[in-house]
């Protein structure tokens, strides 16, 4: 434990860790010192002068170093001036007065100064009701203004910093929290101050404006209504909103979120989601979320929701009862035997995946995870162990990221790794092209697409990188799917797992293998024993397929063709899709915002989410639909209670054995304290009252033997002379069905863009931003060209889920 320092604040004797700032020490002791510029996650600047207090320090005798006593007590010396609580660190014997006449006068003065420029348009301000300035004005402000109304500055009230974030220059109090967040935490210093003095204003220096995937967080820590999101701006008043704890379903990080809803006339009186806010979990996302998680929630309100069961009759889909739909599905599944395939999405809850897997097992069919990344079974064997916390790793820990662009694929992991480096961890980034994490890496390894396994084998060589790896106390490897398909990523995972196992970086906290999956609960599927299929089109032909939460037909014409040639298709989903068009039976499911359940994050933390919206139409939760099909097929599954379903799961799947549904809802005190009455301190992030989740065990951490099969893989295909090697890469904002309905993200999603080296562009005679035709594997599409000198020559990167059906490296022609 850190050395403790004892001081007195307002007569209360408290002990806090050495190095703590007075403002934070007061917060720990539940004493309010108002702040604006200070934020417990940011470096102190002492700008706003709101936290002025009287600070007394004991006088020490110069010769002896002992306290000078007066009436038996240490003699305390106060400076003639007030001091900022946010920049002064605690000292033994310090005496702080936050409520003395002079301290109160100082606080009152600062509020008065701030209000001279502030428009006081609280009645129309989005922040009104959860505004630190409003609250502190009520607490410390004078009732009457001495500033002449006519002399108020009038500035721009709707200045878009980008299309996602708007600035109200009149409301801004120049505390710089947003600028410092972007600089210190996000590592995207794209906003700053322009001009000086009273003319000082926030501006953006990037094109497009405010080009950061973390921009929404600035609206949470903005202590006034200066920064608002385009999505929520003038959308609702905070006090009208209801709050429901949830888990973000957009990527494997598993950020804790709060869903704010309101009943709305504009939506015919139904409940709608108004905004997504971060919810504190210091072991997962701290108090931040990325913009995709914040803005891409609109799909659940999409007009294309499936709301009632349907059965294909005479070639057309027509409305059916649940009973008949379930019966039809069950009959076909049972008849199929070995030809029965569950093709499930990693967006489903653990309980859904569990029931689906046991249905497939019972019918002797196959359970396949719809994913382009292989090797996940190894994360179940030597993945991250219990008690791992990326928020605390530092010196002695080496973090390796290979074949993944975390900024695009799992932004909060990018942020956590970047902060770990600041605390002293070693970071090795290996990728064929430059990624955002390179800037923070201790070592960057560039390899050619196809050389992933070779690169892993070189990690323990006798050089600086090898030393950083082998001599580390702890190693965590993040592997991804940059330029890889199912087989390539499986080979990469195997190589990583072997290396970790060989050096003992497994089975203990802060060690192990992490897959940078495509979906929120891919990890859960791997834990349940799902596999992935490298050649889905061939595999699906002639099968009876139970498609749950997936749209293969929409993703790839070859898959659409395969499904057309399947024997029977049961489609269980929340949205209409190209796949549901082909269905023999449609089973409408509830979105994760409408039900409860659990996800297993990529860090193997199981977390609960709760219903935020009422059930839509006749939809049912996935696990219940599956249970009803199972029952029809003569097999009992839990289909009514998620809690009971989870407990059965935990009895069956070894890595979940120590968990229970109620354990996932346990909370512990977290630092910093956020989300309470003092919104000025941490921002509008919600406090976590509904569960921090719990870690799974691994085969290694349970002390069982780990077997790692060596996966052989052909190296990347060699393109012909007039061809390029097209490699799949993942972008944050893609045209996936859960992203595209968010209109606010339209410009960020943009068009399919392929990247290539300038030399290649010159050879092909294409310009930056030009439109080209790209064809591979008998399939072609149009794309914009981005010229990027960090892309290796001979290669063209093709984004996944942007309309070009790329699954693995493949020779391509570009015209």
């Amino acid at each position: 434990m850190d050395k403790q320092v004892t001081l007195t604040i307002d007569g209360k004797l408290i002990s806090v860790p050495e190095g703590t700032f007075v403002a934070d020490a007061a917060r720990m002791a539940d004493i309010d010192i108002p702040v604006f510029c200070h934020h417990p996650k940011l470096e102190p600047v002492g700008m706003c002068r709101m936290c002025l207090v009287e600070i007394g320090r004991p006088i020490r005798d110069r010769a002896t170093g002992q306290f000078v006593l007066e009436n038996g007590q240490p003699k305390i010396q106060f400076l003639p001036k007030l001091e900022t609580a946010c920049t002064n660190r605690v000292e033994d014997g310090m005496v702080v007065h936050t409520q003395s006449e002079s301290a109160k006068a100082g606080q009152k003065s600062t509020i008065e100064f701030l209000l001279t420029s502030h428009p006081l348009d609280c009645p129309v301000c989005d922040k009104g009701g959860e505004c630190p300035l409003q609250n502190l004005t009520m607490a410390h402000g004078a009732g009457k203004s001495r500033f002449l109304y006519d002399e108020k500055l009038h500035l721009e009230k709707r200045k878009p910093l980008g299309e996602l974030i708007y600035l109200d220059q009149e409301r801004c109090i120049q505390c710089g929290r947003c600028v410092r967040f972007q600089d210190e935490i996000a590592g995207d210093p794209v906003i700053g101050f322009d001009e000086r003095g009273r003319s000082m204003q926030i501006m953006t220096s990037s094109e497009p404006g405010f080009d950061s995937v973390f921009s929404g967080n600035t609206t949470d820590i903005c202590p006034v209504g200066a920064l608002t999101t385009a999505d929520f701006r003038f959308g609702a008043r905070p006090w009208e909103l209801e709050e429901f704890p949830s888990i973000c379903s957009q990527c494997p990080v598993g950020c804790n979120i709060t869903i704010n809803t309101r009943r709305e006339a504009a939506a015919d009186g139904s409940m709608v989601i108004k905004r997504i806010m971060p919810r504190q979990n210091e072991t997962v996302n701290e108090i931040w979320i990325c913009d995709k998680g914040r803005f891409a929630y609109h799909y659940t309100e999409s007009k294309g929701r499936l709301t009632r069961p349907a059965i294909r009759k005479d070639g057309k889909l027509s409305r059916a009862s649940w009973d008949s739909a379930i019966k039809l599905a069950a009959e076909n599944f049972a008849e199929a035997g070995k030809n029965f395939v569950v093709l499930a999405s990693g967006r489903l809850a653990n309980e859904d995946l569990f029931n689906l897997k046991s249905l497939a097992d019972h019918l002797k069919g196959d359970a396949v995870l719809y994913s382009e990344i292989g090797g996940g079974e190894l994360t179940s064997a030597i993945g991250i162990s219990p008690d791992t916390n990326l928020g605390e790793v530092g010196p002695g820990t080496t973090l390796v990221v290979i074949a993944s662009d975390l900024y695009q694929e799992a932004p909060i992991w990018y942020l956590r790794l970047k902060q770990a480096v600041r605390r002293g961890a070693t970071l090795i980034v290996a990728n064929p092209r430059q990624t955002r994490l390179d800037d923070h890496a201790s070592y960057v390894i560039r390899y050619a697409y196809g050389d992933e396994v070779k690169t892993v084998h070189s990690l323990d060589k006798k050089n600086k990188i090898g030393e950083a790896f082998t001599r580390s106390e702890n190693v965590i490897i993040f592997y991804g799917s940059e330029g890889l398909g199912v087989e390539g990523s499986a080979a990469l995972a195997s190589a990583c797992a072997k290396l970790l196992n060989e050096y003992g970086f497994a089975g203990k906290p802060n060690n192990g293998l992490v897959g940078v999956w495509q979906r929120a609960n891919d990890q859960g599927a791997w834990e349940m024993g799902y596999r992935v299929e490298a050649d889905l089109p061939r595999f699906l032909r002639g099968k009876v397929v139970y498609l749950v939460g997936v749209d293969p037909a929409g993703d790839d014409p070859r898959l659409a063709k395969a499904l057309e040639n399947a024997k029977f298709l049961a489609v269980q989903d929340i949205l209409e899709s190209a796949t549901s068009e082909l269905a023999d039976v449609i089973l409408p499911a509830q979105a994760h915002t409408e039900r409860e359940g659990t996800f297993t994050s990529g860090e193997r933390r199981v977390q609960r989410y709760y219903p935020a919206l009422p059930v839509l139409g006749e939809t049912r939760p996935d696990f219940a639909i599956t249970a009803q099909i199972a029952r029809q097929a003569g097999f009992i599954q839990e289909g009514t209670s998620v809690s009971a379903a989870f407990d059965i799961l935990s009895e069956t799947i070894p890595s979940y054995a120590e968990l229970s549904y109620s354990k996932l809802a346990e909370v512990q005190p977290q630092w910093p304290v956020v989300g309470r009455g003092d919104l000025y301190y941490g921002g509008t992030t919600y406090e976590n009252k509904h569960g921090l989740g719990a870690h799974l065990t691994t085969t290694a951490s349970r002390g069982e033997n780990v077997h790692i099969l060596r996966v052989h893989r052909e190296s990347a295909p060699r393109p012909q002379e007039n061809e390029l090697l097209a490699v799949p890469v993942t972008r944050l904002y893609d045209r996936g069905t859960t992203v595209l309905p968010a209109k606010v993200l339209k410009n960020r999603i943009g068009k399919a863009t392929i990247s290539m080296h300038p030399d290649i562009a010159e050879r092909l005679n294409v310009k930056n931003g030009g439109l080209v035709k790209i064809s591979f594997d008998g399939h072609s599409g149009e794309a914009l060209v981005q010229i990027d000198k960090t892309i290796p020559a001979g290669v063209v990167t093709v984004p996944r889920s942007m309309g070009l059906a790329i699954h693995e490296p493949v020779p391509a022609k570009v015209k």
């Binding site: 102190p44 600047v45 002068r49 002025l52 500033f147 101050f193 000086r196 009273r198």
Partner: protein, 420 residues
Amino acid sequence: MAFVVLRHRDILDIKKLEVYRQNGGFEAFQNAVKNLKPDGVTQVVKDSGLRGRGGAGFPTGMKWSFIDSKNWPHYVVANADESEPGTFKDREIMESNPFQFLEGVALACYAVGANSAYIYLRGEFWQLAGFLDEKINELNDAGLLGAKLFNTNYSLNIYTHLGAGAYICGEETALLESLEGKRGQPRVRPPFPPAVGLYNKPTIVNNVETLTNVPLIIQNGAAWYKSLGTPDSAGVKVFSLSGRVRKPGNYELPFGATFRQLIYEHGGGVLDGRPVKAIMPAGASSSLILVDEKALDTPMDYASVRTLGSDLGSASIIVIDDTVSIDWVIQKTIHFFKHESCGKCTPCREGTYWMMNIAERAHNGRKDPADVELLHAVARQMQGMCLCALGEFATMSVVTGIDRFPSDFKNPVNLQEKIV
């Protein structure tokens, strides 16, 4: 008496390296590097009683001794951002006696173990920066700067750097931020630059005039320097005299010379023979001195000026006679500080803007006693609240102006406005 700092007034071509060297130039530096320990140089400066000439008057040798010797490298930065209204001494020193200044920089570097020094010049001094670059090149060519000086292991390089036109960059931590390429805004102190300065390394920031004193102190000894000036304020000071005087300009006098001597003996007295009404001894940052016979006979040193309820600061003496209304003066100073406030801290950013509104309103006719009272209250409210000294300085003339010249804030004030 021979000039100490403005030596070009005695030796016309001292800006030529050969002339400077003929007059003992760089002997002190060479001797120090070859024969003295760095601590020895610091000790001489400490013993001399030299105090910082930038305004705060902090003992220079003591500042040097604060340099954190556990953290390397060290830097020396010469503050040549001379921006205080009424201050124009550093410019003359650098233009006319550049080598003595540069030798002072070199001695400071040797004393604190710095191998690099930066001269931070205000943006308007771009010609001067070019001129200094030439002089630095001459020193490099002459082997007086560069690697392994005088066959020792000590190396030193000096660089010039131009600011971009902000008064606040004269504040040492804002200067360091600007030098690092960031916005010129002050840092929270402590830590002070000798512990955490340029690029977070121990740094000594000294004013140009301060450094220019150093070569002669090392050459002639601490006792010689101490014999000039007063016990409280050793040595000589360049007083920048301006305002309603007949002969404005820089005057180098020993500390302890009186205001009367400066204004009447050297400055030729007040224009039109009018009486002195007020003195601003530290440029726009001054507390206004209400001038009477006793004030005129007060010695100009740090301690004595304080007895008049003011501070000597950078000793830019602005003389105000009875044709000038104080309400106009403070309206001007507030306007300046409002324009130069960096905006980082609330009381200064908002307070200067607020004060400017009230002062303009009060000056432009509508002299509502409530406004004058409010102006005074706002200034008082800013005091002790600001992040750096700029905000505090902005209030000095306001509070002392209203307190000491109350009649100038009452209707009607029929004084003719004159340019100060």
